[in-house]
Assembly symmetry: C2
Homo-oligomer: 245 residues x 2
């Protein structure tokens, strides 16, 4: 009898419909930069993040007095004070606050997966802590990459491959999908030098042109925090604090 | 000035809409087994193949007296005499004939790309001949993988990576998309042993269960033919013979 759980990788939010049925846990990944920024925010003591798919929704919250950020195509949307740079979320005034965020790819992934039993946020920043937590849940795990404008991207896939590799190495998980096998192969060839491996990736080139090299370095540096953001009633909260309530 | 042409890789027919605009040539790839069977058919002297997306259309042609094949989920559809095994197309009675074919994934890719300027058929079987031809066209090339039921598959991606790698090595092509970079990485790690590399792939496992190991071996053996099937007025024909008309 097969008692192992599945860990699979879905490359884009658009592919989610082909994968979603079997998985109790969805890990949303948008390494450059939404899910890295979300991890950085909770590491800095933010109380909650309300992810919204559209800029209009973010604006509506802003008008109600919320701290609200919006990013499209790598840049802060006009009329907003911050986008998805992790460094934006390290300010003292953000601690204890609820923040609204809309991004090109990451908040779209959260939106398509929001009806899953459990939705958590993954990035290189919380790789080890998240993987260890997933390993003991005894649930099927889908790593949902956010991609770039509905297309595959390398950095999310490699992060998903890293999570899969960890879970597969416990012996309690199996991968069936070719996308998962490819993600693992890509991770294994990238793991000794993420920055070098991704230097030709389209998204990194795009952000580099926007002078965001510091952001990229930060987002590709594993295990800077042990926070695990989790979606509860439409808001992302810090799992540890939430469980303590 | 950038005069190099693009060679990019699209993982599934469903993603085609995100890629299609810039490319004059689309290479449709369905290694296991539609595009391998199509190459084998032309190598055996078939006159034309009429690809149809639905079983119903294939049936309608059969009732009109055409040789018609249909495959779904790896098996010959009831009421048909053949599906997409390359060996089916090596019969003497197929020579000089027009054949109708509907398959799970491959004919779907042909259908979504049929409005491109040029649609050709790629597989490991005609890898070298096709790559050499693409290299001298001075056109942008999109390798369209057929995937498996709308999801990514490894064997098509590796074949696409092989074509891309050849074209990139001419110095006259460039790849921008992360999907193309990933396909090349996967090809480079697979190229010394396709059969071993793909042993864990989902589709190979599926076909192995159907006792199709001989088909798989044949489909993964490069450069068995120099035919290049090309779509003309809704029919696939042998490019060399067509040009000679």
């Amino acid at each position: 009898m097969e008692t192992r759980k599945h860990v699979e990788v879905c490359f884009t939010p658009g592919d989610y419909a082909y994968y979603k049925d079997e998985f109790e846990i969805v890990v949303v990944i948008d390494v450059l930069r939404a899910t890295s920024a979300i991890c950085a925010a909770f590491d800095n003591g933010v109380k909650a993040i309300i992810p919204v798919p559209t800029v209009e929704e973010a604006k509506a919250y802003k008008e109600k007095g919320y701290l609200a950020g919006a990013e499209r195509k790598g840049q802060i949307v006009e009329g907003f004070d911050f986008g998805n740079s992790p460094f934006s979320y390290m300010k003292e005034e953000f601690r204890g606050q609820e923040i609204v965020l809309s991004t090109t790819n990451g908040t779209k992934s959260i939106d398509v997966s929001k009806d899953a039993e459990i939705v958590v946020i993954g990035s290189f920043l919380n790789l080890q802590a998240l993987s260890e937590w997933l390993a003991v849940q005894e649930k099927n795990v889908l790593c949902l990459c956010s991609g770039w404008q509905d297309k595959f991207n390398l950095e999310d896939t490699i992060c998903a491959g890293a999570i899969s590799d960890y879970l597969l190495n416990t012996g309690n998980f199996t991968s069936d999908e070719d996308s998962s096998i490819a993600a693992k192969y890509l991770y294994l060839s990238a793991k000794d030098n993420y920055f070098g491996y991704l230097k030709s990736s389209s998204h990194r080139r795009r952000l580099k042109n926007l002078n965001l090299n510091e952001d990229i370095k930060y987002c590709l540096t594993p295990n800077q925090t042990s926070v695990i953001p989790i979606l509860k009633n439409g808001k992302l909260v810090n799992m540890v604090l939430e469980n303590a309530l």
